[in-house]
């Protein structure tokens, strides 16, 4: 049973790991393979700061809220383990700031210690009159992706450095199930007008005195178009660019200026920070995540594709819940093919 995962960002690698962990002992013939033209540190995931935080509103999409929660709980469990540092996983506290009162987010009970900001805390942030404080998690992909890769390699999963041009190409090679984690370029494998780039740019700086994340929100300009500061284990990420429809992956001097000025105004202590580099990437934005099976006719056979893409700016936040959901769908496929006689593994 050959399974090909297309894409080696956080979604592809975690999905591959989830499937491998759950089924390799149940299905002796299981061979998991990863195909990608970009690997860490050159994936979209590598540019993300790594803060676990969903968007403000789930738009009633309870499924995604559940996947977010599963991811947080899964990561929280790993916090105390020796692997945490290698995974790039750690706790971080911080602020979400608003210019007016807003309803509590869907994730208020998922994170730790969620509360409103006190008036004295708001004095730190002139121009913002309302906000939240909570403790969340950081998962730095520069470390997490190599950690996932290591675990996959140890499990015998094979990696291929190539750009897959079509699902057919995989089936023609004898792959039984394709897992489509192609992120931004899923549209090249199968057109999807709902998948659009949401361009982001960040500045990485050296500011180790910053210990909190600060995410500001401007209802008018929309998510992530308002300054944010996210301290990592080595560098601090400054951002606040979200440009739907912009495919340009080059750094923009104008965006750099916007980010720098806005972040320094937000946090004057940043003024002495040393700028290390800029980075731009395309968030694979979609009204909702595409996570579903699809039957594809391939000659006489019914070939299976499981889609798992369109995670926008919350891929890290939702990744494990999605990986588990894909693993469940994969389990159904195995049942249908009568490949597992034992009951589905408990999740």
């Amino acid at each position: 049973m050959r399974v090909a995962v297309i894409g080696a960002g956080v979604i592809g690698l975690s999905t591959a790991l989830c499937i491998h962990e759950q089924y390799h002992s149940l299905v002796p013939s299981l061979e998991v393979e990863v195909y990608a033209d970009h690997y860490t540190p050159h994936t979209t995931s590598d540019g993300a700061a790594g803060l676990w935080q969903p968007y403000l509103s789930d738009h009633g999409n309870l499924q995604e809220t559940l996947w977010n929660k599963e991811t947080f709980d899964y990561l929280l469990q790993h916090l105390g383990s020796p692997a945490a540092k290698e995974m790039g996983l750690f706790l971080i506290s911080g602020y979400n700031l608003f210019t007016q009162p807003v309803p509590d987010p869907s994730w208020k009970n998922i994170v730790l210690g969620f509360r409103n900001l006190t008036p004295k805390e708001l004095e730190l942030f002139p121009g913002y009159s309302y906000g939240w404080f909570n403790t969340a998690l950081m998962l730095e992909c520069r470390r997490y992706l190599p950690w996932l890769t290591n675990k996959l390699t140890q499990g015998g999963v094979k990696f291929f450095h190539k750009k897959v041009e079509s699902f057919q190409e995989m089936f023609a090679q004898g792959v039984d199930v394709v897992i489509n984690c192609a992120g931004m370029r899923a549209g090249e494998l199968q057109p999807d007008p709902e998948l659009q780039p949401a361009r982001g740019q960040i500045i990485k700086v050296l500011a180790p005195w910053v210990k909190h994340f600060i995410v500001t929100h401007d209802v008018k300009s929309g998510i992530y178009n308002s300054p944010y500061v996210i301290p990592g284990s080595e560098l601090t990420v400054l951002g606040g660019i979200y440009q739907p429809g912009n495919w340009n992956e080059e750094n923009s001097a104008q965006d750099h200026k916007t980010i720098w000025e806005n972040c320094c105004r937000l946090l004057p202590a940043l003024q002495k920070a040393k700028i290390v580099e800029d980075w731009s990437g395309l968030r694979p934005a979609r009204p909702c995540v595409r996570l579903e099976r699809e039957n594809i006719r391939h000659g006489h056979f019914q070939a299976e594709v499981i889609h798992n893409y369109g995670h926008g700016g919350f891929g890290i936040t939702i990744h494990w819940g999605c990986a588990m959901a894909v693993a469940r769908l994969f389990g159904s496929i195995l049942q249908e093919k009568k490949l597992t006689s034992s009951p589905q593994p408990r999740l």
């Binding site: 506290s93 005195w209 909190h212």
Partner: protein
């Protein structure tokens, strides 16, 4: 009297901040700092510099609270300015956890720090051996940066700074009109204060930049304080020990205690050991005294004995010391005895 000459003895956080307050409160003074040790070799350099007050049994609580509030407000403004990184001041959030619920659930300083509240059940799950906890955000003063920044500000206002071991305050009487005694644990010898005693503390400084929150056991003995470049792990309290030698067995003990609070510290690198002697006293000695010898008078302002709480109250006590200096000046100017020049 022409520009009163004030000598501040001691260049730890108390000496330097007191000197600075004197320049602000008494701009006509000429201020000189004298010390045998400067950063990075002062007691202050060993301290993590967390703004979490120590309670002095002999000082009224409202006074301690005022000192803390004064200090917090002062540093809060710096932390939110472009000078923050140079001064080494930054906000840090975290948890104080207790194995047994403390008698006093609300410490006197709970409304001075930010966002103080009891920890939630979910937060406490991270600390299986602890049953109760408090979450809050406070400030940290990293040393050496803070002391170096204070020194820089002093020199910018024309304060002279000299390395000099003062064995007796009377040595200074011919050069200075007023002496400010910020000699910390040195006051035992310098002014023979028998109420002052050392409490030796040992800490580890490690490289663990993923630790962004502080964790402190309510017993005050085990703590993890993330600074700009390193995390301070503590600690120990040994009363009446004068030795500055680190104890090797203690290194492992501190490390183990901290790892049980924060397991990821197992991966910490570059472990360094530091030892300091907390200049401990039932109350901070913050008062005027006139030394007399023969027909000579020497006004002295004492500001020492801050024990484990120096950083938390330094600015508040420095300001009070500066007011006492002003009183000394007024007394000298109003006095009918021979003015010293």
């Amino acid at each position: 009297m022409a520009a009163p000459k004030v000598a501040v003895v001691g260049a730890g956080v108390i000496g330097l901040s007191t000197a600075l307050c004197i320049t602000e409160t008494c701009p006509s003074c000429s201020v000189t700092v004298l010390s045998d040790q400067f950063s990075p070799n002062t007691t202050s350099d060993v301290a993590a510099g967390m703004l979490i007050p120590h309670t002095y049994p002999g000082t009224p609580i409202h006074v301690q609270k005022q000192w803390f509030k004064e200090t917090f407000t002062y540093l809060f403004a710096i932390s939110n300015s472009a000078e923050a990184s140079e001064a080494g001041i930054h906000l840090v959030s975290g948890w104080q956890v207790f194995k047994n619920t403390p008698k006093e659930e609300l410490p006197f300083w709970s409304d001075v720090v930010l966002g103080f509240r009891p920890m939630s059940e979910a937060e406490l799950q991270k600390f299986p051996q602890h049953r109760f906890g408090q979450a809050f955000t406070t400030l940290k003063c990293d040393c050496p940066p803070y002391l170096l920044w204070l020194e820089k500000r002093l020199k910018a206002t024309g304060v002279q700074v000299y390395t000099r071991k003062v064995a007796d305050l009377w040595e200074l009487h011919s050069e200075y009109n007023i002496i400010v005694n910020c000699s910390g644990i040195g006051a035992c010898q310098l002014v023979g204060d028998e109420k002052l005693f050392p409490i030796k503390g040992q800490v580890l400084q490690v490289h663990a930049p993923w630790v962004k929150n502080f964790i402190r056991d309510g017993d005050g003995l085990t703590y993890i304080y993330p600074g700009i470049h390193q995390v301070t792990l503590g600690g120990t309290r040994e009363k009446d020990i004068w030795s500055l030698s680190p104890d090797p067995g203690t290194i492992q003990d501190i490390f183990d205690r901290c790892c049980s609070l924060e397991p990821s510290l197992q991966e910490a690198q570059d472990i360094k050991v530091k030892v300091g002697l907390r200049p401990s006293r039932q109350s901070v000695r913050l008062q005027r005294e006139v030394f007399r010898q023969g027909g000579l008078k020497l006004p002295v302002v004492h500001n020492y004995g801050h024990g484990a709480g120096g950083f938390s109250v330094h600015r508040g006590t420095a300001k009070e010391a500066a007011y006492l200096v002003r009183e000394c000046i007024a007394a000298l100017q109003g006095s009918s005895s021979r003015a010293k020049l």
